[in-house]
């Protein structure tokens, strides 16, 4: 019998963390999930990647202490052999490692200080293990992660989330009609655009300031939460900001979610570290806000592991990948398929990914059961007829899903083959482009300590077409301004694309 969904676990890591009794309760919850999936028409198996017997058909187990490379290689072998439609990674990064991708946007301790981006994207790609982000531009697999609590000794939260995944069921589209939209006041226009693109309006948008962080149950009741606030490393909270002021009032806190999240809620958090998992001991006992959402009934959280990006005006980077995810969920995709479709749509919308878009691709991931389908699809009236039902009585869901997976695999493979990669170079822009950038730098009010980054846009290896030589140049600098009598420093990044010595595209990102 074909396998639809594989739950991927590491036995040794789970047992070391929770002991035999804890492992037994996780096993019991997983058996309930398998039974629930069976009732939903899904054939689910649990495979411990470090179990010799279970991995015998897939090239053998990973070592007892498994690092990301071994896990990635094992998953690749398993997918090639079993071709499951869903991959569910079990546990947080301490029991199921993420891949430490090199951050293409790293700019030092005062800028983007993430040297690496912990990522699940490589597990969604056919490309072999690497820490080079350019290798993972063509995701093809439906992947999600059901996290547990880092540092925990009892698997209470993990079993709770597995049991919740077993209970989840699609709801009518009308249940997802309204949203809890939360933004810093400074980014209200950008967030309003994201909400309008997704819901057709932004009339429910809340901003911080002036709104406070202790949201009521009725404010949090909508089943789509779209959040565009500041986030911090190892912080259980998000922050607001008034326009052009360095004030960061509390906008949202994990501790205020208890008992207020509607079952089946989906969350898209654009914030820096919006879906980071950390040890609560480092945050005065508070869980990550993404975990608090799942604990209180959310089905899935789509967010970032690290520092994220967005333009000052309009939409870009984090705005786009988050709204694509929500739009796909609202269209009836499973959470995992929505994450895959969002990644593909984001990557496919560009001729090449600049360092900030590349990081966006790597850092956003799904916390939740990838096979969960929050929004039910309204069947066409044709499907309610006797003739239709008779004609398709023998057809299994897997067969129909196969068609979708074929399309997604084709799309992902195409992106992986067609998108150029970025290669850091020491050479700066040509004279003409340098002069134009210098003028824009001046116009933008950039002052001292400019940071320059340059990249060759390298055509894919299989490309037969000899295209023009293109490069991406980044200039980052500070713009001191006086606001309300105070001296404030704003940072501007100019991202320019050069083709054969000509400037063909520029975008400007502001610090917010």
């Amino acid at each position: 019998m074909a396998t639809d969904k594989v739950v991927l676990a590491l036995h040794t890591a789970l047992q070391a963390k929770y002991g035999k009794a804890g492992l037994a309760s996780v096993g019991k919850a997983l058996r309930a999930l398998i039974a629930a999936d069976k009732r939903r028409g899904l054939a689910t198996v649990v495979i411990h990647l470090d179990d010799a017997a279970e991995m015998a058909p897939y090239g053998g187990p990973v070592p007892a202490v498994a690092h990301a490379r071994a896990v990635k290689n094992a998953i690749d072998r398993l997918v090639a052999a079993a071709q499951p439609h869903y991959l569910l990674l079990l546990g947080g990064p301490d029991v199921m490692p993420m891949v430490p991708i090199t951050n293409p946007a790293y700019s030092g301790p005062e800028g983007d200080s993430d040297r690496h981006v912990p990522s699940d994207l490589p597990y969604a790609c056919d490309a072999p293990y690497s820490t080079n982000p350019n290798r993972f531009l063509g995701p093809t697999r439906v992947v999600g992660r059901l996290p547990d609590l880092i540092g925990a000794r009892k698997p209470t939260l993990l079993t709770q989330l597995i049991n919740a995944a077993a209970r989840t069921k699609p709801r009518p589209r009308s249940d997802y009609q309204s949203s809890f939209g939360l933004s810093t006041q400074a980014w209200a226009k950008s967030t309003a655009l994201s909400l309008t693109n997704t819901f057709g309006h932004a009339k429910n948008l809340l901003t911080s300031p002036p709104k406070a962080s202790r949201w009521s149950a009725s404010q949090l009741a909508p089943r789509v939460h779209f959040i565009n606030c500041h986030g911090g490393d190892t912080a259980p909270e998000f922050y607001g900001q008034p326009p052009d002021k360095d004030e960061f009032p509390l906008a949202h806190h994990a501790k205020h979610l208890r008992g207020k999240v509607s079952a089946g809620t989906i969350v898209a958090a654009e914030c820096c570290y919006g879906a980071q998992l950390y040890d609560p001991a480092d945050a005065a006992g508070h869980k990550a806000i993404a975990l608090a959402y799942l604990e209180d009934g959310a089905s899935g959280v789509f967010g970032s592991t690290t520092i994220a990006y967005g333009p000052c005006e309009g939409n870009g980077s984090a705005d786009l990948i988050c709204q694509f995810f929500v739009q796909q969920v609202l269209g009836g995709s499973s959470l995992g398929r929505a994450a895959l479709e969002a990644r593909q749509k984001f990557a496919g919308a560009r001729t090449h990914l600049d360092p900030y878009d590349l990081k966006t691709m790597m850092q956003f991931y799904l916390l939740g059961d990838p096979s969960a389908q929050p929004v039910e699809v309204t069947a066409h009236s044709l499907t309610r007829g006797k003739a239709f039902r008779k004609a398709f009585a023998e057809l299994q869901d897997r067969t129909v899903r196969n068609l979708r997976r074929e399309r997604l695999e084709r799309e992902g493979k195409y992106l992986g083959q067609a998108l150029p990669s970025l290669k850091p170079i020491d050479q700066g822009p040509g004279d003409k482009v340098a002069a134009a950038l210098k003028a824009m730098t001046h116009e933008s009010g950039l002052k001292d300590e400019l940071v320059h980054l340059s990249f060759d846009i390298v055509p894919p290896r299989r490309s037969t077409k000899q295209g023009p030589q293109r490069r991406v140049h980044v200039v980052k600098g500070r713009r001191p301004v006086r606001e309300d009598g105070a001296s404030v420093v704003r940072v501007v990044a100019l991202v320019a694309t050069e083709e054969e010595g000509q400037l063909i595209h520029v975008r400007r990102l502001h610090s917010r």
């Binding site: 800028g111 690496h116 909270e237």
Partner: protein, 94 residues
């Protein structure tokens, strides 16, 4: 963030407690990202520095560290990949 610090492969930080001495300064952090903000850092004698955080404290603006601005201090805590998690002040030196 210490200029010389390197994150562990899995993003986990060292659990070892350390004592660091230096001067508390305000620096622009996260420049050019969604979360650019001024933050308080501890600058060590060799010029390297660490972003200061307190468990349960505001990730950007913590009054406890703002009150130390310009002072030399000895801080106890744990080094994390992107910040120094301060657990106590051993002795203010000035």
């Amino acid at each position: 963030m210490c200029a010389a610090s390197t994150p562990a492969d899995d993003g986990a930080g060292s659990a070892a407690h350390v004592v660091l001495e230096g001067r508390v300064e305000r620096r622009p952090l996260g420049q050019g990202t969604k979360s650019a903000h001024p933050g308080m850092v501890l600058v060590l004698a060799d010029g390297s520095w660490h972003v200061l955080r307190r468990a349960g404290g505001h990730a950007y603006v913590d009054p406890a560290f703002e009150a130390m601005e310009g002072k030399r201090v000895r801080l106890r805590g744990k080094l994390r990949p992107n910040f120094f998690l301060v657990e106590g002040v051993d002795e203010p030196n000035d």
